[in-house]
């Protein structure tokens, strides 16, 4: 029997900073929204994140960042997704980054950026409205 296709999301924390409370809160909120959330913990390199996203066949990657490392890791992740023919995976970011970075982060392909104070329900609604579980390989 065909089951309802479930959204699979990777929550990852690139870079060296170990404060993952935010990532955990969002992972938990996504769980409660009915998504399957792969959570990999802190200190992830862009390469590890992309490899995980592909093996787990996720529809979206949520990146939690507080340290400023987004200037390197976000574009690098987008680059790696391209190289691995996985650019169909939606990437969003959340956490702390200078407002003036938002335009260029969107330019490199980050779909949305959520700042401190973003409401969990708003984030969930954004995901439901903008990310669909991908189609089956053969229908």
């Amino acid at each position: 029997m065909r089951e309802e296709r479930r959204l699979r999301i990777l929550i990852a924390k690139p870079g060296l900073d170990g404060h993952d409370r935010g990532a955990r809160v969002i992972a938990r909120a996504f769980r409660d929204a009915g998504f399957e959330v792969v959570y990999t913990g802190c200190h992830q390199t862009p390469e590890q994140i992309v490899s995980t996203a592909i093996q787990e066949d996720v529809d979206m990657i949520g990146l939690s960042i507080l340290s400023g490392a987004h200037t390197y890791s976000f574009p690098r992740i987008m680059e790696l997704l391209q190289e691995n023919r996985a650019a169909d995976i939606t990437v969003v970011g959340g956490g702390i980054f200078p407002l003036e970075d938002i335009p260029w982060l969107k330019d490199v392909g980050i779909k949305e950026l959520f700042e401190p104070g973003a409401k969990l329900q708003d984030i969930i609604d954004w995901v439901k409205g903008n990310v669909q579980p991908r189609e089956a390989m053969v229908a």
């Binding site: 029997m1 009915g34 990999t40 592909i54 093996q55 787990e56 053969v138």
Partner: protein, 346 residues
């Protein structure tokens, strides 16, 4: 493509429906080739489609099946927090050191309320993320009881067909009765920690009976020796009762985080594998039969229920209507089942 030529040479002209069937077949063949070549992205996508019960995966699984049977399958089970993921990570490392490729299926629970899940077993396996010889997949139980998921056996077959030498399955954190893993794994490692309960807990039927190897992890904690002693009593009693089949389950103390005892565990797994393969009583074959049987029954059950529900639907009897009838006490479930079977299977 073969199918294409047969169709084209038949006497009637091709219709639109034929083209779409041919396209689907071509796609399926393409996927099969990529999986047999070990392509990660195709494998990952197929596993998702299998988990979601997309009907076309049946055809792909059929064609992959002849390529299965080469991988050695090892199950890791035990209560939540005993260190299953950490031990899987360590054992995967041992096999990688011997240049063997590893597939890992890690099961975590689905929320019964929202259907969502947090799949967190990977946290302990980070060192393998960039190793092309390791494929890790996190799977949610989606309401299935028994320690695995409905899709686990099919997923194992895919990893087997893609050429993984060893497949490690980490069950969901189990309680007392989730013993499905024995039907899937060749070797089952049952993991516990010191202080999980008194001797009576170890005497109970169910989960404590299924280990081919027992591990007392976090063995630096107080009471480890006592837990080992209790397990040894249990194992020895079991051996006497079972008219020893020649395998005495070893009990191994480990500190998975530090890697202590892991080499011993790895050797024990390999010893059990040798034992199964060289066993005169044909236990390896017995195991193959057990696994085939449970897969067959599972598949039959699923198809049979699907067909029955379709036939009922065709008579205007939806499952919902039957449920309502039972809830409102117009019928009881026993007579309903009898009635459905009488009408549909005769």
């Amino acid at each position: 493509m073969n199918g294409g030529q047969t169709q084209a040479s038949s006497h009637r002209p091709l219709r639109f429906a034929d083209y779409s069937i041919l396209r689907v077949k071509a796609q399926a063949m393409d996927i099969i080739e990529r999986i047999l070549a070990g392509d990660v992205r195709s494998t990952a996508r197929l596993l998702r489609d299998i988990d979601d019960h997309i009907p076309s995966t049946h055809d792909i699984l059929k064609r992959l099946y002849p390529h299965t049977g080469k991988a050695y399958i090892i199950g890791f089970t035990g209560s939540p927090g005993v260190g299953k993921s950490t031990l899987v990570d360590q054992i995967a490392l041992r096999y990688r050191e011997k240049d063997m490729t590893v597939g890992i299926l890690a099961v975590d629970p689905t929320s019964p309320f929202t259907g969502g899940a947090i799949l967190g077993d990977r946290i302990r396996m980070q060192r393998h993320f960039l190793d092309g010889g390791v494929f890790i997949r996190s799977v949610a139980t989606r309401g299935h009881f028994g320690g695995l998921t409905k899709s686990t056996n099919d997923m194992v077959n895919v990893l087997d067909a893609m050429g993984k030498d060893v497949i490690l399955i980490e069950t969901v954190g189990v309680g007392q009765d989730e013993v499905e893993i024995v039907n899937t794994a060749h070797t089952t490692v049952m993991i516990t920690i010191p202080g999980m309960g008194d001797e009576v807990q170890a005497m109970k039927a169910g989960i404590m009976e299924i280990g081919n190897i027992f591990v007392v992890n976090k063995a630096d904690r107080e009471g480890s020796r006592k837990t080992v002693r209790e397990l040894r009593n249990l194992v020895e009693l079991g051996l006497r009762r079972r008219d020893t089949d020649g395998w005495e389950p070893p009990i191994i103390e480990t500190e998975a985080m530090k890697g202590r005892g892991v080499e011993e565990l790895h050797q024990a797994i390999e010893k059990h594998r040798q034992y199964l393969l060289g066993n005169e009583r044909g236990q390896f074959d017995e195991h193959l039969q057990k696994r085939a049987r449970s897969q067959l029954i599972e598949a039959l059950r699923e198809e049979a229920v699907k067909i029955l529900l379709q036939r009922l639907e065709a008579r205007g009897l939806s499952l919902d209507k039957l449920v309502q009838a039972v809830v409102q006490k117009q019928a009881d479930p026993y007579s309903l089942v009898q009635d459905v079977l009488d009408k549909e299977l005769r």
